[in-house]
Subunit: 596 residues, 2 copies
């Protein structure tokens, strides 16, 4: 049956919703695909739900094709398994927790590693049962601090999550590669422009992972790539560590009076004025900036941490956060300064920082601060800095941290050239989980020699509802959405330009006939059969809604033709009424051949 605009539960809007900043959010609301129910929580209207289910179908088909088996877990989950993996605590405020009438603790599942692990443990016991990949397409929950951007960062959302179970690391790599290949096919079929980048493993606790990012200027994720093919999420970039510098000739460190220089800029100006170098001017990169933050651990305890990095770079909060997960980063406040009187605000240096120094504050250094490098940094006295302070000779940290911003032109860690930065939307994530969950929940099987071995796992996610928005970010213009054919809510949008069936009987009758024939051929039609709605309004709605092929049935009928327009290219052709069904079946069918 065709969808009929005359009865379809949809209202297109001329104006952008007030809370929508991104094109995908604006267009999906304006075109009547979704409606907001609460912050980060959306209802799907009929057109939107069709697109969502089309995406689910693509994902399901490709998962089935690699032999993954579909299961379905509850969203309401008991606390115990998450307690065993420590994620009940680690998730902090990020999940929804609730109690049942018997005061039992539950959560709304943000991801299901624990449940899958337990189910496999429940059913399987031998290496002969493996490999196994199982998946679900399911509604998930996260209590985001800042739900935003419509479907891109919601609090209730649909994900495909799958998990692989293998006895050996070698076997795992086969499962991982199968998933990776399936993801390539999925994102190709969804018509997304995307990159695959190395990623941090985050709260999953794995050893390595990759992300599939839809390329989008509005994306929340920043990634880098080099001419030589290196690609990584910015959180995952490792700074190339320079070789140590000999420092036998280095002068002794000397503290100098540097009044009114609490910032790097004022310090560099003062240095060039009061202590000019002979070889070149002082630069901000010659200074060592010490940034203080507070880590809030999942158990509620807090810990101050100092980060020492070259003065020409800022701390990248997302990179820092990724390093310290599951702890959260909070600002170091005036109250914290009060608690640490040995910290001279604006003039803090390695003299007091570090677990072994007076402040006792853990001091983590940027990887560029290698032995022998010489720095100007705070002397821990207001109005004073130390010059010629040599790392490894005069100070050292309690470790290193990847917290400094990545900049375009930075060298790729693999030597493949200078990095460029771009933004994307995380659409898929494939994790090498290793044995973290299998160990926490005792998932073991007997190997060929009758010995118990711990299973190794992978975890693989696709943002299904997020894909709806990501596709729109990738594929729209000023007039509206342009759906890739595989996910479009209909194959053809047929616009009936007549006023009503009484005044324009032929136009309405021909439209109905063409629609019926198309549907009989398996081509789905969104038929704009509204009466007393002007052709202009119908055209505008068709462009906004974004079905890939628009057919206009109107006055051309007197010449025996209808117009067929390609939504993406804007190309229009006149097709004879006699041939239009055959023509459209070809247009649609050519695109559908990839679908088994």
């Amino acid at each position: 049956m065709p969808l009929r605009m005359s009865t379809l539960f949809v209202r297109t809007l001329r104006d952008d919703p007030a809370d929508a900043e991104l094109p995908s959010h604006r267009l999906l609301v304006r075109a009547g695909y979704i409606r907001r129910a609460a912050p980060g929580i959306y209802s799907w209207l009929p057109l939107g739900y069709r697109v969502l289910r089309n995406i689910e179908r693509v994902v399901r088909t490709e998962m089935d094709a690699i032999g993954a088996q579909e299961v379905h877990f509850p969203a309401l989950l008991p606390r115990e398994p998450y307690e065993a993996s420590n994620r009940w605590t680690e998730y902090g405020d990020g999940i929804f927790r609730l109690k049942d009438r018997k005061d039992g603790d539950y959560l709304l599942g943000p991801t299901h590693e624990e449940m899958f692990t337990l189910l496999v443990k429940d059913l399987y016991s031998s290496y002969k049962d493996l490999p196994l990949s199982i998946y679900q397409i399911q509604t998930k929950y996260r209590d985001e601090a800042r739900p935003r951007a419509g479907l891109l960062r919601g609090r209730e959302f649909v994900m495909k999550d799958s998990y692989s179970f293998d006895v050996t690391d070698e076997a795992f790599l086969v499962s991982y590669q199968a998933h990776r290949d399936a993801y390539v096919r999925i994102f190709d079929r969804l018509g997304l422009r995307y990159v695959i980048v190395a990623a941090m493993s985050g709260a999953m606790g794995g050893s390595a992972s990759e992300e599939f990012l839809a390329i989008a200027d509005n994306g929340e994720d920043t990634y880098v790539r080099s001419p030589g093919g290196y690609a990584a999420n910015v959180e995952a970039v490792r700074t190339p560590v320079p070789d140590p510098v000999p420092y036998d000739d280095a002068p002794a460190a000397h503290a100098e009076h540097t009044p009114d220089t609490p910032t790097i800029a004022t310090l560099v100006d003062h240095l060039n004025e009061a202590f000019p170098r002979t070889d070149r001017p002082w630069r901000s990169a010659d200074t060592l900036k010490n940034v203080l933050v507070v880590l809030r651990h999942p158990d509620g305890t807090t810990e101050p941490v100092a980060i020492g990095l070259p003065g020409d770079r800022d701390v990248d909060l997302k990179r820092l956060s990724a390093q310290v997960e599951p702890a959260e980063v909070e600002p170091f406040t005036d109250d914290d300064f009060t608690r640490h009187p040995d910290l001279a605000k604006g003039y803090i240096g390695p003299g007091v920082l570090g677990e072994k120094n007076t402040s006792g504050i853990r001091y983590l250094l940027d990887p560029r601060v290698v032995d022998g490098t010489r720095w100007v940094t705070g002397a821990d006295v207001t109005g004073s800095h130390v010059i010629d302070l040599v790392a490894g000779r005069d100070f050292s940290g309690d470790g290193t941290i990847e917290a400094a911003e990545i900049r375009a032109g930075d060298p790729a860690p693999d030597g493949s050239g200078p990095l460029e930065l771009a933004r994307g939307i995380e659409m898929g994530h494939i994790f090498q989980l290793g044995r973290r969950f299998a160990e926490a929940l005792s998932l073991q099987v007997l190997d060929e020699n009758g010995r118990l071995v711990t299973v190794t796992m992978g975890s693989y996610g696709v943002g299904v509802s997020r894909a709806v928005a990501a596709i729109v970010e990738n594929s729209h213009d000023e007039a509206g959405i342009i759906w890739p054919r595989e996910v479009a809510p209909a194959d053809v949008h047929l616009v009936v330009t007549g006023k009503d069936p009484v005044k324009d009987p032929e136009i309405f009758a021909e439209s109905e006939r063409i629609t019926a024939e198309l549907e009989a051929c398996g081509v789905s039609v969104l038929l704009d059969d509204r009466v007393k709605v002007s052709p202009g309004v119908k055209f505008t709605d068709a462009e906004l809604i974004g079905v890939p092929t628009i057919v206009v049935v109107g006055r051309g009928l007197t010449d025996g033709v209808v117009e067929v327009k390609d939504r993406r290219s804007g190309d229009r052709i006149q097709v004879s009424v006699a041939n239009v069904v055959t023509h459209l079946v070809e247009v649609v069918g050519a695109a559908q051949q990839g679908d088994p």
Copy 2:
């Protein structure tokens, strides 16, 4: 692709799970369809999820066929709409409530009247937009006091809920009838034996409704039917009210000493001994029993209530509960007696009961206690009863209540003969909601005359996950499940009786060939290709899993035949290898013709 037992994520169990009492629960767990995740919360294994999705498909097809449009709402819902309808309070302990990180109140939706009403209000404004029927197939939550019986009464479950919106009551009846017809088709296709009965409207607040009950001895619902065609859920049965009895000749009421008669049985014995009737012995039906309970209202307040009913009947807690919803019924405790010293336990009568009498306790009478009826009842003094107490002359209540048990042989309220009782599982419920939600949430549209009118609504539910269990209750035997073809996880279960492909190459090869040909014809196959598993184990598993057609490929091959067994009838026939694919396509296809 066929399902292969060699790799399928399933383990059949020989033993019944400890917590399972009902056949459906036992068999679904033993056959590897579901696993318990928490009380009333289940995970779906691959076979189970296939059945669930088959049921969803049937429901979706039939809803689409009546022009209902599919949407999808969140499960995590804000408090405000439920506050407006008063259900945030009315649901009491029956729903899951939670808070987000900003302390906002949310619930997990048990049903979505409010959200649908608001969405229609959001999009529509004119009578021209109506009628409208919209539906969703969605996961719902109820914090059941006693989750039990596997999928039959769960806390997380899948429902189809739909809602109709009309301007007039006449138009509503058309929408209601369309849903009713669709439900008949759905439950026919699901292969359920069911009855349609009149029902209470419950918390929905409507004026009338009907239930579709799967006939099942293990069902939680009791329903009645008469030879003349009356059928109702027992909660909905109205007691025929007898005509008033003339009481001019009745003697005056007289209190008598009746020591040690705190129960109806002891009282009747004592009456027959101490005060024998001349016409016939005293019967328990001559006594008026006064039962005290406490109602707990959703706002937390409690209220004692007395129910006066003939002494030969007990209070039916489910009927009483249905009458007092959303209040909950609690026992009247010794503490309550202490608070009401004028109540003589075992000898309570209308002398103290009633809002205008000393106890002030609301006193509700069974509809049989009409004016002029004569009763023996408590004299409110321990060891005393009143005889010849005449209703309407000597006492009256504060109203009537349908709280007495219904018994086989009771007259149908419509005069269609004596009632018989049976049990069933509520599978569908169609409600005439009226304007309750539209009024609470101000859903109005302009009518033809430009006046605002409040929309009238219907609400229609199908228990989708519950249907999985109900079908099994309806359709199983000692050996296992017998799926109706429309919902079976596969069309054909093909048992390979050989040991392994090396020892029995022909059996394995022929099995694979037949499977491939069947799949090419659109017949889905569950192929038991396990090696080193005995034919006996495979047969047992096939019976347990319950695919409607079982094909055995084994030694018959030497005679050019395989065995085809009908799971339901047990009939076996030998079919030549050359014809078996054609034969099976016919067997399966004949059953599938109903499927568009």
